[in-house]
Symmetry: C2
């Protein structure tokens, strides 16, 4: 006993030198620190039985062992002959054969069933596929990590959306566009021969929240990724991700037939071009039999596309779809297009894409950003949702915080995601939510998808800001089931990432849930949008008016003048509003009834405009900016109180970042109010903090190496 | 007892989920796994007493606690009243006052004394400065980590070289020139407000091997680092590094007065320019009172410099030196210059710099790369060593493996460093080694320095290849004491990084010690040099002949033709040899007596030339390339046998990298032999492996995203 104690003391001290570095994400599997609960779990789980062998079933076994051994602090036996109190994982087929499936068990078509066999205390994780069992295994581990009861379980869980993808905007030189967490985790140079441990841990993390696909390279694509040496590298990654149910996709450069195929054209109706893509698809599928397909950004921001040949987006997408179709691949065609000549960037995607509805092949999805402009802190939903009934539309969210404080602000994005998904398009009458467009139910599409632009890089903690992990987590959870609440997801994430200590959970949850409205307020309250620095998009620069394109300039969006501020998108303006259903139009059309949140999205209103609060627009603007700053101050305060409840490494990291966020919030407030004041000519209301620098001071600041650009 | 056991079991299992990720470098401080030894250490060390308080003495205390608690598996008390068996750390002054210094203790002027007070079993670590005590503390911890006896210690250790610096070739956008380990650890964007834990761990690692300075930014410098906002960031880093005895230096762009000072010239004799640098120095020292100084790359590879104004390197260096001198700063002026018009790049640095000997200010060092060309697998020592008696010359080694397999080859560089340091310049007769030039002893210089171009990046294990850590370690150890043997340094590094298991130590040491000659043989045997791919320097490309400058082309260096191969640098050629002392010339002048290692550095010899082995040159070339490949094969074999002695993560990583190295060695062999065969027209000797591709196949390969360029 003494010897054992000594040995353990030894091993304990070893682990002291391991700081909490964030690498383990939400899959930390630390021991259950509630002794009663620990003993109860140990009673319920005495062994693991995994039926059948395959790379995915091996992953199930490995994860259950890693998780349970860690959580239950004891070596759980793996048995081939399950008695009672055993975790049993196997397909419906396998468990039926071995008579381990309880009678009458309802296994869903997609997703998993976790059910307790009360007769013998076994916990059954079953599904039609091994991947769905893996999701069930992660679900069970999550229940334990979050201290839920696992007695008498009967859980049926099915994904609402079929394709749940990350989009990596990662270049082949490892630079990540809009990346704030180091460089790409894909080390193309050392692939295919060197397989970084991160690749497996990436797969585990994604599978744990149900993400089942990843686009490895930037939508601003480089054709080199489609050459033979790079496809070998892609195949090596596919081999690592496959056991975890994750398919690889590639962003395909439309002009690849010219650049690497040495053809003279990339015209989608040209026979040589079509044959080139067909041959390329065949080459890919020989290496990667379950290759997912292509993501394409075409005729957007300088990218090549079918319009260069007088063809439509549908011509381009269908050509690629035809090449992939024999192998089961799909094309995801992005709708993020806008023309510098147009009078309102808001309207472009709708104008170009709605006429093409019904013209796409069956294996094409059109991927639409959540809002009409570009991942702002708050946007109304894109009018394309509900406007293309014959085309499956895929949602594109941005996890990386290009416009949300980048690598240094704590902004929990689930409320943003849910706001969009819950928005009602009225496309088929009330309750035609965006979510129902995306999951395919509104128009009965069997293909459905949702994408998150990744915030992952090679920094030790994956996302740079520790709380970026929560956005990756929340994206996956909502892609699987968008009815989960932001609060519920935050709770689970905190419990797994930090602790089940109620003080920690409650305080961090308050911080997280306040954070999205905070960033809206200190950056772009009342419907302001796109007023940040050009290019790098770092910090405020509402005065900017010399970008290569007017629709990249803040002044294009806020249109502040002596009379007022905001973009008139009503009938008296660009009438972008008309792209929505009448019921939606009615919500926004009148500046007196339009909610404050969207006011300046749709109206140019006078500085004196009376807001719902009773304040003038100018005073409300001052109020909102200050509110944003104050919220960050409150977040800081809450965090400080957790000093003794959180490990020192992570406590200090987040503490420093919150201080930066607070400084930045003040910067945004000062800059925007000083600048807009040059138009409003109105005084700052009393009792608010006053800017401590002049507008000129702020205008002279330069950020030549702001990351991600 | 049972409860304690349970608790410890708990904590033990937590640590299971921590994989060996290499982050802790050689400072792992895992428990002593030899029980007898453990008990003996515990007997010798029962408490820690640190005399005096300062940031550095606090670092001493923290490190002793972290290290001893880990190694001895028990909480070592920190006491203010040391009894016996206590580690006592304090300056000579403090310990004299408190009467803790044993009578007659010889404290060295620089460096530390560790001595056992036999009367009470106390172990005293003392020195004149807190930083030297820190070095002593690390030394003691190293003794324990490597299972040395700590009874009756009497160790006096003084550094042989004063300035022991890392040079980071890190750009402000975090791209690292010739970096193969991710991007820069300096996150300029989040500085000064966010202090990454890595900064402290970087400081600890450096201090542990005596490195006392770091140049934060690339010698291809950007003047922005000298602007006020960036100096704030530099100051924040200086604050983190200072307690660990590490001064910060900056690479200064010579044209900064134009670029950020808005002057019209950077002429070093111009008054405004001189004043600008004086003011800049003052500004820097106000923020960083112990700022080290400037490193300057001038008039080299397109960098600006004094020659643009008709001034000399001395004029430029002295102008900066005058600006820094009031504050105690120094200028490190690089001698890496070469002119595309010249007939032999080898000769340029000597030609430009020897006439300036004696013309530099007292606070200037001239930093010379170890060889005359550029960090090749093997070079003769630079003829500048010993040729500038009135100027302190600083050594520049390259830790990052630009020409040594970059991020994927295991090459232990200590033998390379020592080969140069031990080389005899004969400048003042026999035994005028390069080391004696560098340490200042040959010409009695009080300033002395040695620099290593860093191989550090933001990858989890710091150096990308785990064995890159050994080069960082070896550099520091040799900078402190170049008389240490490569084997001795390898042994300690292995013991600290992997284990004290003799099987592990012996096998890895064999691998490491064989690795440098292996890379010479499979890349550039017999004195070949600079025959790798242009730009990225990745892989072989001996045919390359179209670089923007001829002296960047492999054909410039190997000069292969029908008659033979090699660069004639004797009197019948460029006579570069004349730059050496006569005794050195005699070593190399005759192709029949010149050692094989340097033959093609100095001679163009016929393919039939008879080598010392009796083989023809052509056959010897084939033999050497094959030997290089075979050595890597043997390294792989040795590693495989350690499968059960090393944690699976690191075992597998190195296994994959060795496989890449073997493939690459074969690639080098095949390419070089196929190419040189087009000149020699001689057959491959029997019994060697034959190339499996044609020369054309190899020539068509492209590596557009090879890193570090």
């Amino acid at each position: 006993m003494k010897k054992a104690l000594l040995l353990l003391l030894t091993l304990f001290l070893v682990q002291l030198s391991h700081a909490e570095d964030g690498y383990r994400l939400w899959l930390r599997y630390n021991h259950i620190d509630n002794n009663k609960l620990l003993l109860s779990y140990r009673k319920t789980i005495t062994a693991i039985h995994v039926a059948g062998q395959s790379p995915t079933m091996d992953a199930v076994k490995k994860e259950l062992e890693l998780g349970l051994n860690g959580l239950l602090d004891t070596k759980i036996a793996v048995t081939s002959r399950p008695g009672g109190n055993t975790i049993i994982a196997g397909t419906r087929e396998a468990l039926t054969t071995s008579k381990l499936l309880p009678q009458g068990a309802q296994v869903p078509a997609d997703g998993f069933l976790i059910t307790t066999n009360v007769a013998n205390g076994n916990t059954i994780i079953t599904a039609n596929t091994a991947t769905d069992i893996l999701y069930g295994a992660f679900h069970l581990l999550r229940l334990i990590q979050t201290h839920q009861s696992i007695e008498n379980l009967h859980i049926i869980s099915s994904p609402r959306v079929k394709l749940r993808l990350l989009n990596h905007w990662d270049n082949l030189n490892r630079y990540v566009e809009r990346g704030y967490a180091g460089i790409s985790i894909w080390n193309w140079h050392t692939l295919p021969d060197y397989i970084d441990d991160r690749y497996t841990d990436y797969a585990r993390a994604n599978a744990s929240v149900g993400i089942n696909g990843t686009v490895l390279n930037n939508v601003n694509a480089n054709a080199t990724v489609l050459t033979a040496p790079y496809l070998q590298k892609v195949a090596a990654l596919a081999n690592v991700l496959r056991p975890y149910g994750i398919k690889v996709y590639l962003s395909a450069r439309f002009s690849a037939p010219i650049e690497i195929g040495h053809l003279k054209t990339a015209d989608p109706l040209n026979d040589s071009v079509r044959q080139w893509w067909q041959a390329k698809a065949k080459e890919i599928y020989q290496l990667i039999p379950d290759f997912g397909g292509f993501l394409v950004k075409a005729n957007s921001e300088g990218q090549p596309g079918p319009q260069s040949y007088g063809r439509s987006h549908a011509d381009g997408a269908n050509m690629m779809a035809d090449a992939l179709s024999p192998f089961g691949g799909i094309v995801i065609w992005r709708a993020f297009v806008y023309d510098p000549q147009a009078n309102d960037r808001f309207k472009q995607a709708y104008a170009e894409f709605t006429p093409l509805d019904g013209k796409f092949r069956k294996n094409v999805l059109v991927q639409v950003k959540n809002g009409p402009i570009d991942f702002q802190p708050r946007e109304p939903f894109s009018p394309l949702f509900g406007a293309m009934p014959r085309t499956p539309l895929m949602m594109e969210f941005q996890l990386t915080q290009e416009y949300l404080g980048q690598g240094t602000h704590l902004v929990y994005e689930a409320p943003l995601f849910k706001e969009v998904l819950n928005a009602d398009t009225y496309a088929k009458g009330p309750n035609s939510t965006v979510a129902k467009v995306i999951d395919g139910s509104l128009y009965d599409h069997s293909l459905s998808g949702i994408a998150g632009v990744s915030n992952i890089g090679n920094e030790r903690n994956w996302t740079g800001h520790l709380f970026g992990q929560a956005n990756w987590y929340a994206f996956g959870r909502l892609a699987w089931d968008y009815t989960l609440s932001s609060e519920q997801i935050a709770t689970e994430w905190i419990q797994q990432t930090f602790s089940n200590d109620p003080t920690v959970v409650v305080s961090i949850k308050q911080i997280m849930l306040a954070s999205r409205e905070a960033v809206v307020n200190y950056m772009t309250p009342l419907g302001l949008h796109h007023i940040m620095g050009n290019g790098h998009h770092y910090g405020p620069a509402p005065w900017s008016n010399n970008a290569p394109r007017p629709d990249w300039d803040p002044v294009y969006y806020h249109k502040a003048d002596a009379k007022g501020i905001g973009f008139d998108r009503t009938a008296s303006g660009t009438n972008a509003l008309q792209q929505y259903q009448t019921a939606v139009q009615q919500l926004y059309a009148d500046s007196n009834t339009c909610s404050d949140q969207y006011l300046l999205w749709f109206h140019h209103v006078s500085w004196q405009h009376k807001m719902h609060s009773g304040r003038t627009l100018w005073n409300e603007l001052c109020h909102k900016y200050q509110e944003g700053v104050d919220t960050v101050g409150a977040m800081q305060h809450k965090w400080e109180q957790l000093k003794n409840n959180i490990d020192p490494e992570r406590f200090h990291q987040v503490q420093m970042l919150l201080a930066i966020q607070h400084k930045d919030a003040i910067w945004w407030r000062n800059v925007c109010l000083l600048y807009f004041q040059t138009f409003s000519q109105m005084p700052f209301p009393a009792n608010y903090e006053k800017p401590d620098h002049t507008l000129e001071y702020y205008q002279q600041q330069r950020f030549p190496y702001a990351p991600g650009n």
